[in-house]
């Protein structure tokens, strides 16, 4: 039976962490302990949110690419599915299937959502509901448009998010849940949606008997990562970055009492960055809220892998973890404003350095190296005479000019490059790669120099070595494919050749 990991990414932070996770999965990282399917679920009322839409697009592209790769065993090897696919046994791919809808948030204010106007003001008969509400919510809160989220107000989020528990999407989640499956949540503690949504979700996982297959869900291993403040804003307005820390403290106290002490969750990861933090452009939700990718989001994605690695330690009974909630924090080996792989601890470095380097090499090649090889190198030729059909490549000029390649592979790779670039420009920067060109392609990893000396040492660090490996492997049986399955050839070929090249040049073992 397929063993699934449901990942609930709540709010913008959740979306960005799921994006980071998707990039790691694309580079070939795989969840341990036989988790063969990842089911990302994005929860955010801010449907126009830049980060959300970007993540949804990335997930869609991931699926479109992976579905065209036959038995991927390198890049894109982890399967990602939507609830819709699982529930309806459908193969439809749409970015919308990754998001749980929140009804009534598109064009309403908070006061409209709660039906404020219809509340009584009869203070004489102790039915002064309106004023009661005014005690809890400011006028600003009430007038707040929900379509851009809760603007850092978890008190609003708690109300609105509650409705989705009874939503069809959530029911489908329950229907598809099996006894071997697990759940992981991602939220920020200082935001609006994440702060409110996380405890709400947890309460329903463990205690909502109306949830289909509640018996499996309530005793399923659940992990989560909560983000403490790790960035600030460049101005103060409706959303006040100075309140992030205060809100975090309040929320932590709440988590301690209601979640940790009650062993509602098996493992809770905390991550944040105080001090030298990045300054983001102020935006109140919507497409403008498109924060630069941050290293901590990548680190958060590592928490998912850690959770799966230790899944066997997480047992539950009667909706409670058998052992105390595992509290985990993230750290790096060396504090630096520009973090490279060598600054990470050994296990994290080993986990992501090689896959990311391979994928980076692959995207760099397609951007900067393909032009030289196109129609010249054997591995791009489909019209070689006097050889078997298997000797001809499907990765020809026609493939690289196709819409399929441009709209899927190229787009995904651009997202990856943007993600790497943004992390490199953030604070602290995650900058493990050098800028390279055709001649210095293999010098892409900081602090690691290619060590192999061939007949022509100059060419040994260029893309030529990759082209040579592509030629060597293009006819291999697991890469050979039909014209319609170009992605299979591309993904599998580069999955193997990038690995070979980096190992041969002793950049990685």
């Amino acid at each position: 039976m397929a063993k699934k990991l449901y990942i609930f990414g709540i709010g913008g932070t959740g979306a960005r962490v799921i994006k980071a996770l998707t990039m790691l999965l694309a580079s070939g990282c795989k969840l341990a302990k036989d988790f063969d399917t990842v089911v990302p679920i994005l929860i955010d009322p801010d449907t126009a949110n830049g980060d959300l839409n970007r993540t949804k697009d990335i997930l869609r592209l991931y699926q479109e690419i992976r579905n065209q790769v036959k038995e991927p065993d390198g890049f894109f090897r982890q399967e990602i599915k939507t609830i819709n696919e699982l529930a309806n046994n459908s193969s439809d791919i749409s970015p919308e299937y990754f998001q749980f809808k929140l009804d009534g948030t598109d064009n309403s204010t908070f006061e409209q959502y709660i039906g404020f106007d219809s509340l009584s003001e009869d203070f004489l008969h102790s039915k002064d509901d309106k004023n009661f509400i005014r005690l809890l919510y400011s006028t600003q809160n009430l007038k707040s448009e929900l379509k851009v989220g809760f603007k850092g107000n978890p008190n609003m989020g708690a109300i609105v998010l509650n409705q989705f528990i009874n939503s069809e999407d959530f029911k489908k989640f329950g229907q598809t849940f099996n006894s071997e499956d697990a759940i992981f949540t991602v939220n920020s503690i200082f935001g609006g949606t994440g702060a409110a949504g996380f405890p709400l979700l947890l309460k329903n996982f463990r205690g909502n008997e109306n949830l289909p297959r509640h018996a499996q869900i309530k005793n399923a291993p659940i992990g989560g990562i909560t983000y403490l403040p790790y960035y600030t804003l460049n101005k103060k307005d409706e959303i006040n970055a100075e309140s992030f820390e205060e809100k975090a403290k309040i929320a932590l106290d709440y988590y301690n009492r209601t979640i940790i002490d009650q062993k509602r969750i098996n493992a809770l990861y905390f991550i944040g960055n105080k001090g030298s933090t990045n300054v983001e452009e102020y935006a109140v939700g919507g497409p403008e809220q498109k924060n630069k990718a941050h290293f901590l989001e990548l680190a958060g994605a590592l928490a998912v892998f850690d959770f799966c690695e230790n899944i066997n330690a997480y047992s539950c009974s009667n909706g409670q973890a058998i052992i105390d909630t595992q509290i985990k924090e993230f750290g790096i080996e060396r504090d630096s404003d520009s973090i490279s792989f060598d600054d990470l601890n050994i296990s994290n470095s080993e986990q992501i350095a090689f896959p990311l380097s391979k994928f980076k090499l692959y995207t760099d090649y397609l951007n900067k190296g393909l032009g030289k090889a196109m129609n010249v190198s054997r591995w791009t030729k489909s019209n070689i005479k006097l050889v078997g059909e298997s000797q001809n490549s499907v990765l020809n000029e026609s493939y690289f000019n196709s819409d399929r390649y441009k709209n899927q592979i190229n787009k995904f790779n651009n997202h990856f490059d943007d993600w790497i670039d943004e992390m490199a420009k953030n604070k602290p920067a995650f900058n493990p790669f050098n800028d390279t060109n055709w001649d210095t392609a293999l010098e892409l990893v900081k602090n690691r120099k290619p060590k192999r000396k061939g007949v022509f040492p100059y060419f040994e660090k260029s893309f030529m070595t990759l082209d040579t490996e592509n030629c060597n492997l293009i006819s291999q049986i697991e890469i050979r494919t039909t014209k319609e399955q170009g992605h299979t050839a591309l993904i599998k070929l580069f999955g193997q050749t990038t690995e070979r090249v980096l190992k041969k040049h002793r950049l990685f073992k």
């Binding site: 090889a373 054997r378 070689i384 005479k385 006097l386 082209d467 040579t468 592509n470 060597n472």
Partner: protein
């Protein structure tokens, strides 16, 4: 083997002059023909083996292939010339030595042209055989499969 190679030169390409029979008999008896024949087989074989199985340059094109062919042919020519020259002018056949040293016989004048003729023939054979080797070897090459076409 000399009965395989000798007719190539003597019959196919008509490099045979009964008046200078001693030259050809010396090549025949002294295994000169074998060395000449193996030159146009082994050298192209090695050259094309190197091209298809050891030359890992992934941007090889038809011009590279052509250049390689030219190099192989030149090597064959030089090697053949050297072998023929040695087999004729440095042979152990006393009769031939005397004939070459005697201007009246005309042997030296005729023999001087032979290394170039053998070189040319072997170059042609290397070209043809090399082409055939290439067509066969390309099937099993990884990097240069697409050459010459």
């Amino acid at each position: 083997m000399k009965n395989i190679f000798a007719p190539i030169y003597e019959t196919w390409f008509s490099i045979y002059e009964p008046n200078y029979r001693l030259l050809f008999d010396t090549l025949y008896n002294g295994n000169g023909y074998i060395y000449l024949g193996l030159s146009f087989i082994i050298i192209p074989l090695i050259c094309w083996y190197l091209f298809y199985y050891t030359w890992k340059f992934p941007y090889g094109n038809f011009l590279h292939w052509l250049l390689w062919m030219l190099i192989a042919v030149v090597i064959v020519f030089a090697s053949t010339w050297s072998i023929a020259n040695s087999e004729i002018f440095a042979s152990n056949n006393q009769k031939l030595i005397e004939a070459l040293n005697d201007p009246e016989t005309g042997y030296k004048e005729y023999a001087t042209s032979l290394p170039t003729m053998y070189g040319s023939i072997n170059s042609l054979m290397a070209l043809l055989l090399g082409f055939i080797f290439a067509l066969f070897m390309k099937r099993y090459s990884k990097v240069q499969t697409h050459l010459p076409f």
